[in-house]
Symmetry: C2
Subunit: 189 residues, 2 copies
């Protein structure tokens, strides 16, 4: 039997309420009706502002990465410099530039929008925007708040392949754009 390639249709929201509305956690519970007719009484959506991160390459081809402890997974891994857009941040690239500078001290270079992803489209309302910044240079010292504890690492091109293929980057929102960058840089099959 051939596959049904018609497009799945949106759900109908019958009612909504917030279970938690705090600065770092907005949890919504929706009662929804699916196109199948089924009703789900408690479908949970996590509302977040847009997130940003950046593949930052220095003038001598080093990737600017950070390491920090993450309390969800309770581990330390390599990450891209990243941040959260404020409600009035209309330009995610400006947020990404600010976060790169504050977290690592690097800035400048040529910036382009590179990839948009979701941590989990089933639960997350927001998107994560990755920028590619080439030719960045060290401009200043890191400027960390006391709730931040990041280490900056400059990682060479062959080492970054090992990091991302070898499980050294747990965060899917960071691994995916790095893998895309490495794929489009590699020779065509």
């Amino acid at each position: 039997m051939p596959h049904d390639h018609s497009e799945p249709q949106p759900w109908n929201v019958l009612s909504s309420r917030y279970l938690c509305r705090k600065p770092w956690m907005t949890l919504r519970e929706d009662r929804v009706r699916l196109p199948t007719g089924a009703v789900i009484d408690d479908y949970f959506v996590l509302e977040y502002p847009a997130w940003v991160n950046v593949i930052a390459l220095t003038t001598d081809d080093g990737f600017v990465l950070v390491r920090q402890y993450r309390h969800g997974s309770q581990e330390v891994h390599y990450e891209l410099p990243a941040g959260v857009c404020e409600p009035n941040d209309l330009d995610p690239e400006a947020t990404a530039r600010r976060e790169l500078l504050e977290e690592t001290g690097y800035g400048g270079g040529d910036w382009t929008a590179f990839m948009t992803l979701s941590a989990n489209p089933g639960t997350h309302s927001n998107r994560s925007h990755t920028y590619l910044a080439t030719g960045v240079i060290r401009i200043q010292e890191q400027q960390q708040e006391d709730t931040e504890d990041l280490r900056v690492h400059l990682v060479g091109r062959s080492e970054i392949v090992e990091v991302v293929l070898g499980g050294g980057m747990l965060q899917a929102l960071h691994a995916a754009p790095l893998l895309k960058y490495l794929l489009i840089q590699s020779p065509s099959p």
Copy 2:
């Protein structure tokens, strides 16, 4: 000034409480002390069981993908067949095999563990395990519950590059392993 490459240390949990404990949402609030001395009164952790997904390749080199409406992002994208481990699922590969069969009707083939990621290690306690299954075949009809509304698509090798580089797969936990697969299949630089 050279970078400080010492490893960031774990946080101290001073107290914990659950704000929501439902079958599909477990939200924990921790009071934590960082190595810097700073105290965060409300750090939120989402507890989930392990997740699984599978890059399934048919005997004639088609990728078995699904499309479904996702109520967090309110959009439809391509996804890998995926699922959630039950608390007593000791073997994530068995869960992935069951989900592939139920969601798509495909099964069999050779299976290997391929990649482990997190949707967001800052907030998520769990990991997502990707398997690579080569040589799968259509065994049965899809078996969907009335809360599922998935369409199965067989996507060829050149088309899948377009999908994943062109923004057709929003879910980072699915895009990253597919990009890894395409990268290691491509000629070495």
